[in-house]
């Protein structure tokens, strides 16, 4: 009985990690690191987490965790509340609805898929911010952030895949 309790707690802790990693990436994303000195924007790390876990472990990243990650992103980044929450949820929903397409595909296809989802997310974000400010917001920084996000995806996805193999095999 005791062992089974420990076992269950262990399992629970492991299964919480996709949501926790997503939230952690929101926080890591705003830490002022100047490795990319040439750029004032940083890649949108939590979007990668949402994409990855929605494909591989959707049950372990429920919609409300996605919502919370987006809300935290809004709060910390100073974006209007709800914008990133909406963007992340839409990205999540799109990936879930195309689950059949994503299963068993090579990494290159997954990367391409991410490029599409991130493009949708960036467009939606731009639209929402433009609408809320009642003006067409400058788009160049958004394009730049999009390119950075797509460019950094393989590195982050590699870490997630490792994590998944190490801790989430039982799912």
């Amino acid at each position: 009985m005791r062992q089974s309790l420990w076992h269950r707690m262990d399992l629970l802790a492991r299964q919480l990690t996709p949501s926790m990693l997503t939230l952690a990436l929101v926080i890591i994303g705003v830490v002022p690191v100047r490795l990319l000195d040439f750029s004032t924007v940083v890649p949108l790390l939590p979007l990668m987490a949402v994409y990855h876990w929605a494909i591989f472990r959707p049950r372990l990243l429920p919609a409300y965790a996605v919502f919370l990650a987006g809300l935290l992103q809004d709060i910390l980044s100073g974006a209007p509340l709800g914008v990133n929450a909406l963007v992340f949820l839409v990205a999540y929903g799109v990936v879930l609805s195309q689950k059949k397409f994503f299963t068993g595909k090579s990494f290159l296809i997954l990367w391409l898929g991410f490029a599409l989802v991130a493009a949708l997310a960036a467009t939606l974000h731009w639209l929402a911010v433009s609408l809320l400010n009642a003006t067409l917001v400058e788009i160049r920084t958004a394009v730049w952030q999009y390119l950075l996000t797509v460019g950094f995806f393989p590195a982050v996805a590699w870490i997630f895949t490792r994590w998944q193999r190490a801790f989430l095999r039982l799912d």
């Binding site: 002022p32 690191v33 100047r34 974000h125």
Partner: protein, 299 residues
């Protein structure tokens, strides 16, 4: 997230329906929040400040090693350019010495003239120095989070400056954290005066690193290279803080390059001139009074 055993027994269509409802509900909440943020700015701001406060210790801890790393990167970079840098600095020094002489002369002259006129100088600023613990790096919001809040005496509306000039102003305050809205943010509007003609204008952020000058009086001319300083109109910011330099004048508008670069911000100084300012609305009860002196935290 682990689901209870009961959930698994639910038949597939019902579960699908329920999760779809939950999803739609969350999307609706997100949209509702966007609308609410437009309607009730104060409430969303205080919510934001509270959550930021809760996360601030984590950010503070994380930003310290990040800073050490930044410094190491900088040092390597500087090492490679030591020789040119030296030559440039020597060059600069000669020029600066001339300027120093000029400034001293002007200072003395100014002082004498002020005495003649019985001129009253503005209130002396008190300041709080704080560390940047989050640079949000978003494409659509230019703001920073500092590790000082109302406990340290930070008040909404204070000017955030570095040694180079104005960086932004305090847009939200929690107990131990504060949010700075940078001058480049879409929502930033700074009353400024431009050049020797002291043309009045508003510097409006547009999410690029070059804000625009708007609302210039007709017939006034602005030239490339003109210095832009705060005007102090509206009482929101103290007058005379250096902001930037005009870099482009054409039919598309006038652009300013701020002296303060966003990627280079580590410490920020918050100036408090005790100005009530236009930001002190009726709902913001805490007036900047009863301050027990400012705290210095510069390294």
């Amino acid at each position: 997230m682990k689901r209870g055993p009961g959930t698994q027994r639910l038949s597939q269509p019902i579960r699908g329906l329920a999760s779809r409802f939950a999803y739609a509900g969350l999307v609706a909440v997100a949209i509702g929040l966007m609308v609410l943020g437009k309607i009730d700015v104060l409430m969303t701001d205080s919510f934001r400040a509270q959550v930021t406060d809760a996360v601030a210790p984590v950010l503070d801890a994380l930003s310290r090693p990040a800073e050490a790393m930044n410094r190491a990167v900088d040092q390597v970079r500087e090492l490679s350019q030591l020789r040119q840098e030296n030559a440039r600095l020597r060059d600069n020094q000669g020029r600066l010495l001339q300027w120093q002489t000029a400034a001293r002369n002007l200072e003395a002259e100014n002082k004498a003239l002020r005495e003649l006129l019985n001129f009253k100088t503005g209130p002396e600023p008190s300041f709080i120095t704080a560390r940047v613990i989050a640079d949000t790096g978003g494409a659509f919001a230019h703001s920073l989070i500092l590790n000082a809040g109302s406990r340290e005496g930070v008040v909404r509306g204070q000017a955030a400056v570095t040694g180079l000039g104005l960086a932004g102003r305090v847009a939200g305050v929690g107990a131990r954290s504060a949010r700075i809205l940078l001058v480049t943010d879409l929502n930033s509007r700074i009353p400024v005066v431009v050049g020797d003609t002291r043309t009045r204008a508003i510097m409006a952020g547009n999410n690029t690193n070059q804000p625009k000058l708007i609302h210039l009086p007709s017939g006034e001319s602005v030239q490339i290279g003109d210095r832009v300083v705060t005007s102090g109109h509206g009482g929101a910011l103290p007058p005379g803080l250096p902001v930037g330099q005009v870099t482009m004048v054409n039919e598309n508008g006038i652009k300013v390059r701020p002296f303060v670069e966003r990627t280079r911000l580590e410490f920020i100084r918050l100036l408090d001139f005790g100005l009530a300012g236009i930001l002190e609305g009726p709902t913001l009860r805490k007036a900047p009074k009863a301050r027990k002196g400012s705290r210095k935290r510069k390294p």
